[in-house]
């Protein structure tokens, strides 16, 4: 299993992501955003969290035009897997590789805490090790995590099982920290090879740090 982790100026989760996937046995390559190619042998491209280009204009808006994003789009178009975490999710929606957009949190504050998530669909590589309605405990850390999608597109997300996760409390009751439509925390594309979520599974790999539920999520990518 080979994982390529994309690094923009301002990315700050690339080494956490490297740690997480190495722990699961993958070999990692960190790819600087000026590179216009991604190793064809890469099984998964991860767009890691952070503040690419200082979140100028809109979160993810500038990163989208980096040379590496053409390579990411090509990787996705040939069926390669892509995962965007936090700022990576914002980059993927700005790139139109994922539907919807991420707005400023409803309460306008940056939120950094552990939050529970409930699995909405598992008919995909990312969630397949979990069951529907399973509850996981994963950190969130974002200012612009308020997922928006129009009603019609939302319906097709549900019809195609593209909604991955909802924010919830520890008992699995919906609990919405940031105003996201339907408390949606993560989605995938219609082909189910591009995934994005605001929470950070790569920060939930050690019980001593509060949770290792991230393992159950990330190991879905391993054959």
């Amino acid at each position: 299993m080979k994982v390529s982790v994309v690094q923009f100026p301002g990315t700050n989760c690339e080494y956490d992501t490297k740690y997480a996937f190495e722990k699961l046995g993958a070999s990692i390559e960190i790819v600087w955003h000026q590179k216009s190619e991604i190793d064809a042998k890469s099984d998964l491209v991860v767009i890691a969290g952070g503040f690419s280009y200082g979140d100028y204009l809109r979160s993810g808006a500038i990163a989208r035009f980096s040379p590496v994003m053409d390579a990411v789009a090509k990787h996705a178009a040939r069926g390669g897997k892509v995962l965007g975490i936090c700022n990576g999710f914002q980059v993927l929606t700005e790139s139109r590789l994922l539907p919807g957009a991420l707005k400023r949190n409803e309460g306008l504050h940056f939120i950094s805490k552990h939050h529970h998530l409930k699995v909405a669909s598992n008919s995909n590589d990312f969630m397949r090790k979990l069951s529907i309605n399973d509850v996981v405990n994963i950190p969130i850390a974002h200012h612009d995590g308020n997922y928006y999608i129009d009603e019609e597109s939302k319906k097709s997300l549900y019809d195609n099982e593209q909604v991955l996760l909802h924010y919830c409390d520890e008992n699995g009751n919906i609990s919405n920290p940031n105003g996201s439509v339907d408390a949606i925390a993560g989605v995938c594309n219609a082909q189910k090879n591009v995934f994005g979520l605001m929470p950070h599974p790569e920060r939930a790999m050690e019980s001593i740090l509060g949770s290792q539920d991230g393992i159950k999520m990330l190991e879905g990518f391993f054959a």
């Binding site: 035009f65 957009a101 409803e106 928006y148 105003g179």
Partner: protein, 80 residues
């Protein structure tokens, strides 16, 4: 010539900042405020041959980068 681009959330997309500002104006007793929308203004200095071509080019910039048309709308004003 100059282009002034105003970008704001589309009508129907909840504007949390606008809501917070309205709430603050309410508490300052500005009772006439019915709604507040907060947007951003981008001012471009252009070297274009005429206003029409400038506007067309700026519209392309808005679609490509300056606005996220999934959630935002924009207006363009050209000042020669």
């Amino acid at each position: 010539m100059k282009a002034i681009v105003n970008v704001s959330l589309k009508a129907g997309v909840l504007d949390s900042q606008g809501k917070a500002v309205k709430h603050a104006l309410d508490s300052l007793k500005f009772g006439s405020v019915k709604d507040v929308r907060v947007g951003k203004q981008i001012v471009l200095e252009l070297d274009s041959k005429d206003a029409a071509s400038a506007k067309e080019e700026v519209a392309q910039m808005c679609e490509a980068l300056l606005a996220n048309t999934v959630i935002e709308e924009y207006t363009i004003e050209i000042i020669s």
